[in-house]
Symmetry: C2
């Protein structure tokens, strides 16, 4: 699909609004948890421009280190430029168009302090080459097997998906299960969620609305799960299990996560890319 300037602006604006509403909710959760020591996000802008037409745009990181969220980052970025010839071959529509691309997105990784509050990840994005499409998803990474939490998270996404296409949820759930898997450990990163890419149904407004709803669904479902679990007591042993599980998260992100590897090896913003890593992790 051909994407015009107005559409790009609307998408970029939405990712910023979603970021704002998520940060506001997370700060509200910190206040509810402890009215005395409330935490807030710190923002930091970064610039991708290098003086030529291959690298343009930039982004803004938002990081909070709080009592509920030991570390949570919400990044937005809108970048444009030219892919290398090598990379352009792998991207739909990129080699039709002088390798030019435009991409905007929002990414979130939350590492809660309480081992009973599940870590989570969400990303939604629009990519434009000579084609244009949406991608994204969200996944939950509980330390312990709390099947009600997993069920609640999946049902929220299923309800949203079903409003658009009954085939979305089963397809996007399977995609998440395939993607968020750690082969060398022969274990899943978490309990999954949804993952989708190259979404171009022919109805851009519907695809954009779906992507907006994925972000809102994640926000609302995850905030509910955090509030539901954040006051549960935990033991030193449970903390240890959490830190080992975080080590697995590090392994997935550094060994397999496509965005992380691509970003690190092509001169992306290291600080923004590695915002996803936990504040502390352990290995046996």
């Amino acid at each position: 699909m051909i994407i015009n300037q107005d559409q790009k602006k609307r998408v970029e604006k939405w990712f910023c609004e979603l970021r704002n509403s998520i940060c506001a909710e997370f700060e509200a959760i910190e206040s509810e948890y402890s009215s005395e020591a409330s935490s807030v996000f710190t923002r930091k802008q970064w610039d991708r421009a290098t003086g030529d037409d291959t690298h343009g745009g930039g982004g803004e990181m938002s990081v909070m280190k709080g009592n509920v969220f030991e570390k949570v980052g919400v990044n937005i970025s809108t970048v444009h430029g030219k892919f290398s010839d090598e990379f352009a071959k792998k991207i739909p529509g990129a080699d039709d168009n002088s390798n030019e691309f435009w991409a905007s997105g929002v990414s979130l990784v939350a590492h809660p302090r309480n081992p009973h509050v599940p870590p989570a990840h969400m990303n939604t994005r629009m990519i434009v080459t000579s084609k244009g499409w949406f991608g994204g998803g969200g996944d939950l990474n509980p330390i312990f097997d709390i099947s009600e939490d997993a069920q609640f998270f999946h049902e929220a996404f299923k309800n949203t998906c079903d409003r658009y296409d009954p085939e979305y949820y089963p397809k996007f759930k399977e995609w998440a299960d395939d993607y968020f898997f750690i082969p060398h450990r022969d274990e899943a990163r978490g309990v999954g969620g949804i993952f989708y890419d190259y979404l171009d149904s022919g109805d851009w407004d519907a695809d954009f609305a779906f992507t907006q709803d994925v972000g809102k669904t994640f926000r609302d479902a995850y905030c509910a799960l955090v509030r539901q679990n954040m006051n549960k007591p935990w033991s030193d042993e449970e903390r240890e299990v959490q830190l080992i599980k975080r080590g697995r998260y590090v392994e997935f992100n550094l060994v397999y996560d496509r965005g992380t590897i691509f970003g690190l090896q092509t001169g992306g913003n290291t600080e923004a890319i590695l915002m996803s890593l936990p504040p502390v992790a352990k290995w046996d």
Copy 2:
């Protein structure tokens, strides 16, 4: 060079002897540090055989969690089989010989508890295809810039190298500097050491003697550095710096280290490969 069975046996035996002497020295260090709570290595064997001729051999991990060494692993392995066609193309002599290979080596990674005791890594190995060669090296990863430690470590390797060939040390030092570098952080992993590969001078006995001396040099120099620093007091702030530096170590090993990536993605022994990861690490 053509390698015979007797040579393979001598090499495998040496790696086992080196492992034994290093473990004995590290246990002695633990006893010197605290005569009451002495720590010992725990050994665990693993088997690489899968029932066909592509995967044979195995190895033995030795891990100690002590007071001086928060975590130290010394692994030996002797494996043989057939490379995939894809991989064989990248290995000297492998595609001349039905992709067959034999490899034996010893690997060590030490993560000391005291931030003033530098972490260190050592590996030596012999690889046999239709050709045969030695490789290995050692590098030091101090948390703080203790130039005397770095100088002592480098001088030890230089003395050893110079006994064999005056070109070895400058060449192998540069190789280590190039290899142990973290591009996305634009920083070195540590202060380097030596790194060599494809060593086949035409005099197998000399190459084997050199590889033995690299192992002994590492053992003696590193043990001296540990003893010299292990009783220094440290602060919480210094511990924090150490844990952040360990995060960088994790990044290097999971994103760039060729042995780690190859091992994980080709079904190697995950526990032995990831023995290198620190017991605990932090990210900002």
